[in-house]
Symmetry: C2
Subunit: 452 residues, 2 copies
Amino acid sequence: MRPSSLSQWFQLAKKRFLSLTPPQALILSYAGLAILGTLLLKLPGASHQPTSWLQALFTAVSASTVTGLAVVDIGTHFTLFGHWILLFLMQCGGLGLMTFGIIVIHLTRGQLGVKQRAALRETFSHTGQGDVWRVLLWAIGFTAIMELLGTLLLALQWVPEMGWGKGLFYSFFHTLSAFNSAGFALAADSLTTYAGNPLVNIVISLLFISGGIGFVVIADIIEKRRFRQFALHTKLMLVGTLIINVIAMIVILALEYGNPATLAALPDWSAKLWAAWFQAVTPRSAGFNTLDTGALFPSTAFFIMGLMFIGGGSGSTAGGIKLGTFIVALLATWAFLRQQERPTIFGRSIQLDTIRKSLAIIVISLLCVNIGIFLLTITENGNFLDLAFEAVSGAATVGLSRGITADLSTPGQCIIIVLMLIGRAGPLTIAFTLSHARGESIQYSAGHVNIG
Amino acid sequence: MRPSSLSQWFQLAKKRFLSLTPPQALILSYAGLAILGTLLLKLPGASHQPTSWLQALFTAVSASTVTGLAVVDIGTHFTLFGHWILLFLMQCGGLGLMTFGIIVIHLTRGQLGVKQRAALRETFSHTGQGDVWRVLLWAIGFTAIMELLGTLLLALQWVPEMGWGKGLFYSFFHTLSAFNSAGFALAADSLTTYAGNPLVNIVISLLFISGGIGFVVIADIIEKRRFRQFALHTKLMLVGTLIINVIAMIVILALEYGNPATLAALPDWSAKLWAAWFQAVTPRSAGFNTLDTGALFPSTAFFIMGLMFIGGGSGSTAGGIKLGTFIVALLATWAFLRQQERPTIFGRSIQLDTIRKSLAIIVISLLCVNIGIFLLTITENGNFLDLAFEAVSGAATVGLSRGITADLSTPGQCIIIVLMLIGRAGPLTIAFTLSHARGESIQYSAGHVNIG
Ligand SMILES: [K+]
Ligand SMILES: [K+]
């Protein structure tokens, strides 16, 4: 191939990339990261035992979409080098890909146009006229601070237990995995050993809750400090997260209290409460577990499927339809039944466009998850509940499993790979979509709620 | 009690009933019919063996909500008198309760006010300015003609088989059960004996399809005769019904072709095609079966759960969220992704109000069905897929079962009873609800699609 045609090809590729819409660039970046990860994990030094192409692809997609489903035992299968590859993929995938998207656009276009800024503001769900770059700086700075703090705190547990080298790495790995809602752990039973350990429970759950609520919420809290001044989205996310976590904890405590394989096996009330708390907050994004997910009662598993489907905050590392989408759908339904023109909450009305967006996200998510479950029932012979749980966990990029991931057939694992990719890129793509609704009469001043 | 206080009580009751909104009157009527049915079925002459209160209540609710789930063998448990009670409940429930609702309002208010007419037009989903009474007359006349025709045609099969008396009653019972989408059959295995019988397949499926598509559609077809002149709702229902039935038949044929307990057991291609056709069209309303529902592969069962959830036409005897709701949700999602202000189809735009109504129905239906499944997983120990199937079948008033209805615990049967009642009254109630959206700019001329 002549150099001129090669340079022409590069010119063409650059031109094509420049003409991509942000969602297309995002999806392309995900695909690129997953392919890069697959190749890296296939390197001989990455694993102790040979890694098949399917295993490498599954693990790379699971890490870069920060899902955390695993077809091999992450801790023993991969070497230290392999673990660093996973850390790289998780960091790029969870926090990175969003900021990465902005940086790419900035680098390639030189400067953000008004339209791009608007689209990005939409993605980042930033309310008002503030600069999107401030949000980006917040996100990077906040990530660095949280991951440093998390590592130091977890080191208090794991350095005495494992020594400086292993203990620090263990702390860093789980901190990064938690803050990016990836949910990969180095032990085969995730964090089950620490079900009753307050330090591990507090640090890990605070990490993934703050990573999964969305940076705009964190930035708004730090900037404004007082609840009454928060943006509508921030208020909804804080109140919604509190309510859903408390309800989930009570339900799980009630359902699993008598289960000899989970809560009933724990020695005291303190351990039971910590385990119920952790099990209540992990399904909406993190995917770590301190109880044996496969031993949960069917009722608990089904309840957790609902939590996984709802997911965390918009523009965060969490998956699912997003808590904001869920709240808007409930408010819109309630307003319709009360024959009100617009849903209103905290003295603000929710725009019709947001309601249409929430319907679109719910419909597409339901179609994807149900088609995924349907295909799994064709390719697999396993228990229906376990298969449905796996499909929801993959599509909502959660990473909890009833223990069947490695046993899935090749087509079954491919279905989960596709679900993880769609689950990560789909809601972001829809969130980018701006509808062209015009000329609506506004009676309340309009507030903005993020969905998707 | 003194006569004056009794008459005062009647005066008060009459006044209260007059002040009810149509949905409240409807729900009260359902409750009244179910209670009346329970008392009638408890009469000694109604059944050969004793009927428990729970069995009587379950059967009465199942008949009056035209669901067709059964905790006893309908054919052998009840006497001829019992079967006539069921016929009465099914006719009142399926067609009757809607027309009954109009008659009650007419009788009690003397004349329909503008507001009541608007509400009724909404319920009957009648487009344009036509008189609602014409629709009512159509419905009654159409029912009488269809049930007469159906009975005569089925008698060609069953009179030679069973003699005049039994054969005619058998034909009338299944005709009424089919046209009202009730799905009660007199044989324990429903219509499995006639899986390959063209006459039974054609007559029964045409009866429940015409009953389940909605009277407004039928009336519109008979009145206008030409597709281009049909109302938007009629066009959508006809095209939607055709597409969904063809897709369902192909999917079921492909999935069950190798199942030795269903299609593979049938002798020839003709029987296989009839069985696949019947199995494709029955889940959206009727609830009869010609294949063993419990022997279907999990993939087929899950697919059928989707069909049951979608359901039939608005203002018909079918249940589910309704095909119109499903189509509107898909169109609205598609329009949003294409950044169009309004979904448009057949040269008409769909109103924002309709989209909000569709969101409300989907959200409430999902909550009800999933809460039902969740509660069943707590009260029952059975297979999760069977329980989920049962809950969807109850809430969508379909009546297909994987064979576990009679084995459910008392709380489990009560959950199904509640689901059947909510499933019948809920969507109608939401469909009654008129939202007060005003001042929207309309660019296309607005068409009307029924949802709920
Ligand atoms: K995760
Ligand atoms: K039915």
